[in-house]
């Protein structure tokens, strides 16, 4: 290969080394599973000054649970999330099951999904709906960014140039009233045409849309409506009018485009349907837990 624009590969063994490398080379791109970054490199759509290989940093590929939260290391692959945290983080596991193929799930990570910050990324709606926080670090120190301020634009996020994503903190589900649902034009291995996540928890409602606006985003009006109207603490079925209104509020919050995967009109319509259905399923989970406690 010729020329000075070769891509430098940095392979730190510890987080400190990685943060130092990132501080020295703010244009460096972190590399974990490589399922996104390597495709862009191979097609020459991107030529960063350096790659920082994070796969040698063992602590990034661990998770721990305490105080009703899971701290999920940025380098835990989807397959492990599904296998090891399927009951604790059911919404995130549902989203993870829809990511790519088994091979991609073996390599890809939530950290990578956040780094790319694609509006179509599968885990974003769940992280938003669950009220997750993204833990980032630099040589200057660590901080946590709430998911709903993390996504700043199409494929842009709130990271400073010297920061790396180290973990996400996700409230775990005492009651598994979490749903994720994604429309694709193939029955597996497909990028979202649109997606939706809903989390019901003790009078709190989190709801978020994916692939239907410049960024993944929460739908505050729909959340507030539901938080106020749901018959919390009972196992009463929901009236159709309530589900329909929720669907309308979600649809109203979309800001989609026409693209090769679907039309804006279809996305808005489909999100209304997904909102109604996921509400039914999540409320069924809630009712089940109420009955179990009774």
């Amino acid at each position: 290969m010729q020329g000075s624009d070769a891509v430098e590969l940095v392979r730190p063994d510890t987080l400190e080394e990685a943060l130092a490398a990132k501080a020295e080379r703010p244009g460096a791109v972190p590399l974990a599973g490589g399922t996104d970054v390597m495709v862009e490199l191979n097609y020459d759509h991107r030529r960063p000054e350096a790659l920082v290989d994070l796969t040698r940093i063992a602590e990034l590929a661990t998770w721990s649970a305490s105080g009703g939260h899971v701290r999920l290391g940025a380098g835990v692959p989807y397959t492990r999330l599904i296998d090891e945290l399927g009951d604790t983080l059911p919404g995130l596991a549902m989203a993870s099951r829809t990511v790519g193929s088994p091979q991609i799930r073996n390599r890809g990570t939530v950290g990578g999904n956040l780094g790319a910050a694609s509006p179509a990324g599968d885990t974003h709606p769940v992280l938003l709906a669950a009220g997750a926080e993204i833990e980032v670090a630099s040589v200057r120190g660590a901080r946590r960014i709430p998911a709903d301020t993390f996504y700043t634009g199409v494929k842009r996020n709130a990271l400073a140039p010297d920061e790396l994503i180290t973990a996400v903190h996700v409230p775990s589900a005492a009651v598994p009233a979490e749903q994720f649902s994604k429309v694709g034009t193939r029955n597996a291995m497909v990028i979202a045409v649109c997606s939706f996540a809903l989390v019901l928890r003790d009078g709190h409602v989190g709801a978020a849309i994916g692939s239907a606006a410049p960024t993944p985003r929460r739908v505050p009006d729909a959340e507030a409506f539901l938080a106020a109207e749901l018959p919390w603490g009972t196992d009463a079925p929901l009236p159709d009018s309530l589900k329909r209104r929720f669907g309308e509020l979600v649809a109203a919050a979309t800001e989609p485009i026409d693209d090769v995967r679907g039309t804006a009109e279809y996305r808005t319509h489909a999100l209304g349907v997904l909102a109604r259905r996921t509400l039914t399923w999540a409320w069924d989970d809630h009712r089940g837990s109420v009955r179990a406690c009774a």
Partner: protein
């Protein structure tokens, strides 16, 4: 086991015709050890790269290669002026520049090629070539190209071919008339092995090219013309082919790599990446079709009138032959007394289109089968009953005037399909069985089941008077104390399993277990293309004919040595035997030092050109038929589809290798499913919007259901072993059957494939 075929007693041996021995290359392919064309390597080789037009239609006003040439490691940057021979190639007409000269006619057209000592260097140098263009208005609508006031893209206009078919009354009246306008989107072959090959200069002005292709000799002809060389100077060897489906009939990197190799004096390898592959091969013609079907009140067809527009894109490729198929097969497998069809293949500035599995028959079938369902509705008949009432059979006269002179079991295919059990209602417990799969879009809400049927017809082998032949050489000798046969042909093994059945044919005809298939190359005569479902028929036929000549010579030789007459001898599992006295000798002993070596050029019975005014003529060699029943679950609120079952009945005349036959039916049906619900190259203003497997979707294992497959073996007396080409028919009826099932579930008209979610909701 001894079977009698065409009056001759064939030699009994294991793993012969009718059995399913393992593929000779199967283990290596499964283990990832098979060398594909993209794995080729040569010491000191260079890497090629291709600069392509960013515009669908533009005049080139300047090309400056100086910056590219100056890059260290670059050995050559070539443009059209460096093409020593004819700067044009093409399967039917040489209308496509090797490298664009004055005008580019599609986005992705090659303008310059680079060779460098590293692929990255070649890519970067390629990007430094400065081409200036005057953009021109692209022609992107096939109907406008024929009838509209648009630019002529080639001398002589934008019609590549117009094929009329006229039969009977041209202004007929019928009790019941249904009409429809149907569209088929641009499907891609989506082979997994990208275009690739290695050209090695011979030091004497010639070149050896190792390449993944479908027809070595037609590649050779075009390369020779462009390079200004003789066939002896351009030798081709088939490299490992990772799928073809028609997409390798046209040249891709063959001339470019050879040109660079000759220019630099070094071996040159070229491999397209996935995105470039979408620009590097032709696709299935998109179609717009206007159909009118007339019938009596009891559903008997009176007439079919149709106008079919096939968008050939920037260059002709095989558009002419695709038009011939769509026109002659345009009414489907039905007996229709009055027919008026006009089919046009056009030039536009869309991506070039050419051969793809089904070749014109796929597009027409979506039109005529949609119409048959509409007619069934109008007549109050079931979809199967309307088809049975109009089904062709042996002896039916085609709209071209050709009599179908072997089995055409259309009604039987439908009867057998209807007799198959229907799948149980879906379970809502397993998301994988529901529309949307694990994406968790429904737990049963909105899901409606539908059932649909379709039948298709396909011509097998080359048609319309083409001199269609294959060449085979069979050599028998004793090797290491065993009789052994080598078979040489130039027939491209593209994954379909020809190498297996050629071994089987030898075992059946010569009773020899050990059969080696030599590498396919141009040192022997042409085998014709691996297309038109023809290689079992043609190269199978040629190998069988050569084997029979070997057997004749061997039996004469044995008769002399054993003091017997030829007539009383036969081969039986590596032995020579007589009917009266049983085994007489081991074949290996009779062979001794003798070697039997026969080469045969074998032809199917001749066909005729179509009359250009009436479309009459005995244009086709053989017809193949398949029928599908699709059962779908549709999420009617989201427009998502799960094909629950896709059952198929197909007549194959004779299953040379039953497992391979079933594999072809499964694969063809899956490709038809793809066209029904997801596969489309989307273009806008001539530009492909989804040149990737991220957005050009092909069915996964969760999209393709298990199939019930019923294989009929109604021998065609004209064909070797009675076989009927297998590869294409299952691709044809699969698509309309699935769409019919979606219509049944949703009540929507669905006039276009692929059906998208927003067509349903």
């Amino acid at each position: 086991m001894t079977s009698t075929v065409a009056g001759r007693t064939t030699a009994a041996t294991a793993n012969g015709v009718g059995s399913s021995p393992a593929r000779p290359d199967g283990t290596r392919k499964v283990r990832g050890e098979f060398a594909y064309s993209s794995d080729l390597w040569h010491e000191d080789m260079l890497w090629g790269a291709t600069l392509r037009s960013p515009h669908p239609h533009a005049r080139i006003t300047g090309v400056d290669v100086s910056a590219a040439v100056a890059v260290p490691g670059v050995h050559a940057v070539l443009t059209h002026g460096d093409v020593p021979g004819l700067n044009r190639y093409g399967l039917e007409h040489p209308d496509q520049p090797v490298l664009a000269d004055d005008v580019v006619r599609y986005r992705g057209e090659p303008v310059a090629v680079v060779a460098a000592d590293h692929p990255e260097t070649a890519q970067r140098a390629m990007k430094l070539i400065e081409v200036t263009y005057d953009e021109l208005e692209p022609v992107t609508d096939a109907e406008d190209a024929v009838h509209g006031d648009v630019a002529e893209l080639h001398p002589g206009g934008n019609v590549v071919r117009h094929a009329p078919i006229r039969r009977g009354e041209q202004t007929p009246q019928a009790d019941v008339v249904v009409t429809g306008r149907y569209e088929v989107g641009m499907q891609d072959q989506a082979f997994l092995g990208p275009e690739s090959g290695l050209a090695v200069p011979d030091g004497h002005g010639g070149v050896d090219l190792y390449v993944a292709t479908q027809w070595l000799h037609v590649d050779q002809q075009q390369i020779v013309a462009a390079l200004g060389l003789t066939p002896e100077q351009v030798r081709l060897t088939l490299a490992g082919v990772g799928g073809a489906f028609g997409g390798r009939e046209d040249l891709s990197m063959q001339i470019h790599a050879s040109l660079l190799a000759l220019y630099t004096g070094k071996p040159v390898k070229m491999v397209y990446n996935r995105e470039e592959s979408f620009y590097g091969h032709v696709h299935r013609h998109p179609a717009t079709m206007y159909y009118e079907h007339g019938a009596t009140r009891d559903g008997r067809l009176v007439h079919v009138t149709a106008r079919i527009y096939l968008d050939g894109g920037a260059y002709a490729s095989s558009t002419g032959a695709v038009v011939g198929n769509a026109a002659t097969l345009g009414v489907g497998p039905y007996d229709v007394p009055n027919v008026s069809i006009d089919c046009w293949g056009t030039y536009t500035n869309n991506p070039p289109c050419g051969a793809m599995r089904g070749f014109g028959a796929v597009q027409a079938a979506f039109g005529y089968e949609s119409q048959m369902d509409k007619l069934a509705d109008a007549c109050g008949l079931s979809p199967t009953e309307i088809r049975r009432r109009n089904a062709m059979s042996e002896g039916t006269v085609m709209p071209t005037g050709q009599t179908v002179d072997s089995a055409a079991p259309v009604a039987e295919l439908l009867d057998r399909l209807e007799g198959m059990p229907l799948p149980q209602p879906g379970s809502t417990a397993d998301l994988r069985t529901l529309p949307g799969g694990v994406s968790n879009t429904t737990h049963g809400e909105g899901v409606v089941r539908g059932v649909g049927y379709a039948v298709g017809i396909k011509n097998i082998c080359f048609s319309e008077g083409f001199d269609d032949y294959s060449t085979a050489r069979v050599r028998l000798a004793a090797v290491g104390g065993q009789p052994a046969v080598t078979v040489q042909t130039a027939a491209a093994e593209v994954g379909q399993g020809l190498v297996t059945i050629l071994q089987q044919i030898i075992r059946t005809e010569l009773g020899v277990e050990q059969v080696t298939i030599l590498p396919m190359d141009t040192s022997i005569g042409s085998a014709g293309s691996t297309s038109a479902s023809r290689q079992s028929y043609m190269t199978g036929g040629a190998v069988r004919a050569a084997a029979l000549k070997v057997r004749g010579a061997l039996l004469s030789h044995a008769a002399t040595r054993l003091s017997r007459t030829t007539a009383e001898l036969h081969l039986d599992g590596g032995k020579l035997a007589s009917v009266a006295d049983g085994v007489l000798a081991d074949l290996v002993d009779v062979l001794g030092e003798a070697e039997f070596d026969e080469t045969v050029e074998w032809r199917h019975r001749p066909t005729e050109a179509l009359d250009p005014e009436t479309g009459r003529g005995n244009a086709h060699v053989q017809y193949g038929f398949a029928a599908h029943r699709a059962v779908v679950d549709v999420d009617t609120e989201l427009g998502l589809v799960k094909v629950v079952s896709l059952d198929c009945v197909q007549d194959v005349g004779k299953a040379l290798n039953p497992q391979a036959v079933v594999g072809q039916i499964q694969g063809g049906s899956a490709q038809g499913l793809g066209l029904a619900v997801m596969e489309e190259i989307q273009t806008e203003g001539g530009v492909i919007r989804n040149p990737s497997f991220t957005d050009y979707l092909i069915p996964t294992v969760l999209d393709m259901p298990p199939m019930n497959i019923d294989v009929l073996e109604l021998a065609d007396p004209h064909a070797p072993y009675g076989l009927r080409g297998v590869g294409e028919p299952p691709t044809i009826s699969s698509t309309p059957a699935i769409v019919a099932a979606i219509r049944a579930a949703t009540g929507k008209e669905l006039l276009r494939v692929p059906v998208r979610p927003d067509h349903i909701v």
